[in-house]
């Protein structure tokens, strides 16, 4: 007799047909956690996603349907929050925006209680920005979902580094041996930290240029060169990344006047001419026009600042896709 047990049933294979070899960490907390293969996987995936939705009327993919992404922003942000929100929505995930203002945090709720609330609501991914360095790391111990660091204090901002690397790769090709100059407030910049870690992982040579007062202690342990002379560093560089002078994090006086900073470390037309013809000018935004960068350069021919914002959405889509797919298989 043919019983129900005997009827051939299609069963999912134990081994995936095409698994992705490089493994990513469960949470994206630091650009330093990414191996070269892992970082390249994210960038390649972003490239493919861009290709898949280029020129389409409906720029939406069904990939993360039914998943919940919480944007947990304890610090002000325009482009990062909107970028993450757009990325999650383009992948059809449900997005909940949570900002410290107007929430129970202003009533004194702790990060841990907030994390437990999110946990109880079943967030698949938590995108966290916090003014305290290491807050996303703490959060990752309290929630089951994947935590993505969207900037923590003066520590790291890994997705910004990924989108910068993506932009650089589009214009320069492979980053091996490319010389990238990062200029400005390195001391307070999480963008600089993440970029130094990621770009050196990808084979680029990074030169940090800043006034001595804005160079952090222990910078000699970073995989980067340090210079105080912007003109010398810019000569022959493949790309220059200007950092914002973070007035809100400056308690003391790190330089005498804005004008003096601008003379020494601002990017103007004369300095841009020192770059190679193919070199690009980047800025993570928001810009202090006239301080670290002149409007002429910011809107000039080699500037990719607007493109960086567009690439941010694609790169964050890649990060969310790679973190959130394959969960039932035991995560990544």
């Amino acid at each position: 007799m043919t019983t129900i047990q005997d009827v051939p049933r299609p069963v999912r294979p134990a081994a995936a047909a095409r698994p992705v070899a490089p493994t990513l960490p469960r949470h994206l907390l630091s650009a330093g956690d990414l191996s070269r293969a892992g970082a390249e996987l994210i960038l390649d995936t972003a490239e493919r996603i861009d290709q898949a939705i280029a020129g389409r009327e409906v720029r939406k993919l069904p990939t993360l349907r039914g998943r919940t992404v919480v944007n947990l922003f304890f610090e002000d942000s325009t482009r990062t929050r909107i970028s993450f929100e757009l990325a999650a929505k383009r992948l059809s995930a449900d997005v909940i925006n949570f900002s410290a203002k107007g929430s129970s945090v202003s009533k004194g709720e702790s990060l841990k209680d907030t994390a437990w609330t999110l946990q109880a609501m079943g967030a698949d991914a938590v995108v966290c920005r916090h003014s305290a360095s290491g807050a996303p790391q703490q959060l990752s111990a309290w929630v089951d979902g994947h935590v993505v660091n969207a900037g923590d204090g003066t520590h790291e901002h890994p997705t910004q580094a990924l989108l910068d690397a993506f932009t650089l790769r589009r214009h320069l090709g492979a980053l091996d041996g490319r010389r990238i100059v990062v200029v400005g407030d390195v001391l307070h910049s999480r963008v600089a930290r993440s970029n130094v870690l990621l770009l050196s992982t990808l084979g680029a040579r990074v030169t940090l240029v800043a006034p001595p007062t804005l160079v952090p202690v222990g910078v000699d342990a970073w995989p980067a060169d340090v210079s105080y002379d912007l003109d010398a560093a810019l000569t022959g560089a493949d790309a220059v990344m200007m950092l914002r002078v973070q007035r809100e994090r400056m308690s003391g006086s790190f330089f005498p006047t804005a004008r003096e900073y601008s003379r020494g470390y601002g990017l103007d037309e004369r300095r841009r001419a020192l770059l190679l013809p193919h070199s690009i000018v980047m800025h993570p935004g928001p810009m202090n026009r006239g301080m670290e960068i002149t409007p002429g350069v910011a809107d000039g021919a080699n500037s990719v600042i607007v493109e960086q914002v567009a690439n941010g959405v694609t790169v964050r889509m890649a990060v969310l896709y790679l973190l959130l797919s394959g969960e039932m298989n035991g995560g990544m």
Partner: protein, 267 residues
């Protein structure tokens, strides 16, 4: 139709040797035990008798005593189904069928990565040669539209390249190497819908190995290969594998090859 070793197990109407004391056994004194058509039944039953059970297969007779118990490295019987010359002829035939069906109307070929893309390109070359007008060929990655993304480790995405004319109001022929569960094509139809609104969508595959899980059917089939769940159809193309061939790896039948884990889609 060649019924393989894996598929005959629980099917009615196959030949088995019955145990000596079986009620259906024909009385045949002094003989070795007659073969008789009986309804299907659990495989173990045939092993319980005193007479060694044998399995009638297309490839020969395998005594039940040597059947391996569920083993990932279970021995496989490899058979080449199509060689390089035959693949070339199959592609020529499908190209002619596409022309026959669509007449003078231009078609857009979209290959599903990875091997479907190369098949689409070859089909496009044949169509261009037969009609003297260029055939647009592109590729359509379906990874982001799969229904098993949560169950599997993340996959690397492949290239999506829609030909310049787009797919709106066009006759689109999707091209893939192996048609199996139909889930890939389901995903491809979803992906295609997001690219535009084709007038007609048709499907061309090099191999149809059966076992559909969705109501999907190919319009152009290179070769129908009846398979069991434990079998594996390997399509190799020069562009990727250095050789053109379609091989069928028949799993030596065990209970697991009928109900156990199998490949959903050949890599």
């Amino acid at each position: 139709m060649a019924v393989g070793t894996g598929s005959g197990w629980d099917r009615p109407g196959r030949l088995v040797a019955l145990p000596v004391d079986h009620p259906l056994r024909t009385v045949q004194r002094g003989g070795k035990g007659g073969l008789l058509e009986v309804p299907a039944r659990p495989a173990q039953a045939s092993q319980s008798g005193a007479v060694p059970a044998v399995e009638a297969t297309a490839g020969g007779v395998i005594p039940s005593s040597v059947r391996p118990i569920s083993d990932p490295d279970a021995p496989q019987i490899l058979t080449e189904i199509l060689g390089a010359a035959q693949i070339g002829r199959v592609i020529d035939r499908i190209a002619h069928q596409i022309l026959e069906r669509n007449g003078e109307l231009p078609v857009v070929l979209l290959g599903i990565p990875t091997r479907g893309v190369h098949l689409a390109r070859r089909l496009g070359e044949r169509l261009t040669a037969f009609t003297d007008r260029p055939t647009p060929v592109g590729s359509l990655d379906i990874t982001l539209y799969r229904d098993d993304l949560r169950r599997r480790p993340p996959r690397a995405l492949e290239e999506t390249r829609i030909p310049a004319g787009g797919v709106d109001d066009a006759i689109v022929v999707l091209v893939d190497d192996v048609l199996y569960s139909g889930r890939t094509i389901r995903a491809a139809l979803d992906a295609l819908r997001d690219q535009g609104r084709p007038a007609v969508v048709q499907l061309a595959v090099l191999v149809d190995r059966g076992h559909r899980q969705l109501p999907i059917r190919a319009d152009y089939v290179g070769k129908n290969i009846p398979t069991a769940f434990g079998d594996d159809v390997a399509v190799r193309l020069i562009e990727i594998d250095g050789t053109d061939s379609v091989e069928l790896a028949r799993a030596v039948p065990t209970r697991d090859t009928i109900t156990g884990p199998t490949g959903e889609r050949t890599p």
